[in-house]
Amino acid sequence: MKRKRHETDDPASVLSERLNGAFRRPGEADWLDVRERAGESRTHLHWPRRRVLLVVGVLVLAAGACAGSVGVIPWLGRQPAKVQSPPLAPPCRIKNLWVRIQYDVSLNGLEGGISLVNKGRRACSLIGRPTLALINPSVLEPRLLVEYTPPMRPKPGSVDLAPLSLLRAVPPHRGAYLRFSWTNWCKQGPSPASLELRLPNGDRVVRSFTSVRPPARGLPPLYSATAPRCYRERWRTRLHYEGFYPDWTPASVISSYGLDVALPLRTSIITKGLPTVRKLRNGRYYTFLRVQRGTVLRYRVALRNTSKLPFRFKRCPLYAEGIASLSSNPPTRDIFVLNCRPVGVMAPGKVVFFAMELSVPKNAPLGRNFMGWSLFSRRTGGRLLKPVWIVP
């Protein structure tokens, strides 16, 4: 009795129980998938199971096709209205900007960003290429490599809710950000402790890292809060940064599509029939897909009402879908309005299926990539990523 009381009251046990309660979604292991990804053949022992799965899969697909004719809401492909470009304002001056540097330590080194907020009374523009540099570069030469990536633009015809053109006039209290990363710091001795940012108009600002020091001896410990990561002495030190991105979405877009509303919905990408709620919870509804460049991938998305109350859409929300690559290619995505009118009232726990179409670009990166789907909702955790294998 005494022992039980001790276990229950102990803070570590309480925390452990609480964490495990928060991460309690069941799931099923799939060793065959691991072997397939590793490029290994399936063993003889697994062949009978595979055959069974094939037969079951065919039956499920057949059932799904039958059910699909009545239970899946069709895809409309309606895009939201394009965000209008504001008239060009005078360039932002550094004295009118609030500047903040944020960074974090990752396995790859330091990653961070610089936020600029217009603290003036009038709109100003942040159009053009900024320049980022480490102060005291002499300690880095000749290994330092500085790389710049222009801001990503949506593909022609697709809609961006926070287009770069917003930077033509940054209103008061709004701003922009740029991301940077700094990797492979192996140099002994003094390190650059500051970053210099030059705006497109030539204005300059310097901000310091706090407590960034090079490793004292050899490799720094993983997750050291005081040093960027050192991989190899002979590799080059790299500072990479991107152009400015606006950090806000116009209020008109937010109100039109309810971007500030938390939807009590859980989302799942479906490629295997029309699963039950139990299968949705167990994650057994997706097969690793092979898709061809330049074709249309047809799949379904399930939305489940996770609240204890009936739910009805007040405004049809937006969603994004696209291909996210792990290579250096930027992800491509399109934004659409969800065809929510036919849904009506969703009872607690009810699942609704939506047909989806994704145009795979002709230049989509080959090999292992991801298809992504996300509902624009204030609630976090809505972005889905599923692996796909893109073939020519």
Binding site: P11, L19, R25, A29, T43, V105, G283, S325, T380, G381
Partner: protein
């Protein structure tokens, strides 16, 4: 099937949910975590010849999983800057208070907490995964637990008692 493949398969079958659930806290979702687990074990299987056996096999696979998770998160991040730095709980509606408390932890502390309490690794394994000493693991864990307890409104626990309890 060779001995090492069997060992990897054994870890996978025994510990699948531990990997998936802890990675969900790092990757920000169960879907992404599931894929990372599959990919991690696939890579472990492909490179099983490079495992020297000088540390626990589970910790070696964890290192692979963390590299994939963090690399993936960095490369496909599309969120605004503020979100990039925010830790995520996959289902914050289950325990909103805990989700808010976890957000107050630094990435290192959060990682150690997940590895200890969700992935159920011992101190030596966490030390191996994070390339830090077991003493640093203990200190980080006790600081993180104290911070969480404080954020959750519990009494500030004695770090030594926590360590002893966690080691039991």
């Amino acid at each position: 099937m060779d001995k090492r493949t069997r060992a990897i398969e054994d870890v996978y079958n025994r510990r699948y949910l531990g990997y998936r659930n802890a990675l969900a806290g790092i990757a920000g979702g169960y879907e992404a975590a599931q894929d990372i687990v599959q990919e991690s074990f696939a890579r472990a299987l492909k490179s099983r010849g490079s495992y020297r056996g000088d540390g626990p096999l589970e910790a070696w696979i964890w290192k692979i999983a963390l590299r994939i998770a963090l690399d993936q998160r960095r490369k496909i991040a599309e969120e605004p800057l503020a979100d990039t730095f925010e830790p995520e709980l996959p289902e914050p509606e289950i325990d909103g208070e805990l989700a808010a408390a976890l957000r107050t932890l630094s990435p290192r502390r959060r990682l150690v907490v997940f590895l200890r309490y969700v992935a159920d690794l011992d101190y030596a394994q966490i030390a191996e995964v994070c390339e830090i000493s077991p003493g640093t693991v203990a200190a980080t864990l006790s600081q993180a637990t104290a911070a969480l307890s404080s954020a959750l409104g519990n009494e500030h626990p004695d770090p030594r008692a926590l360590r002893e309890a966690a080691e039991q």
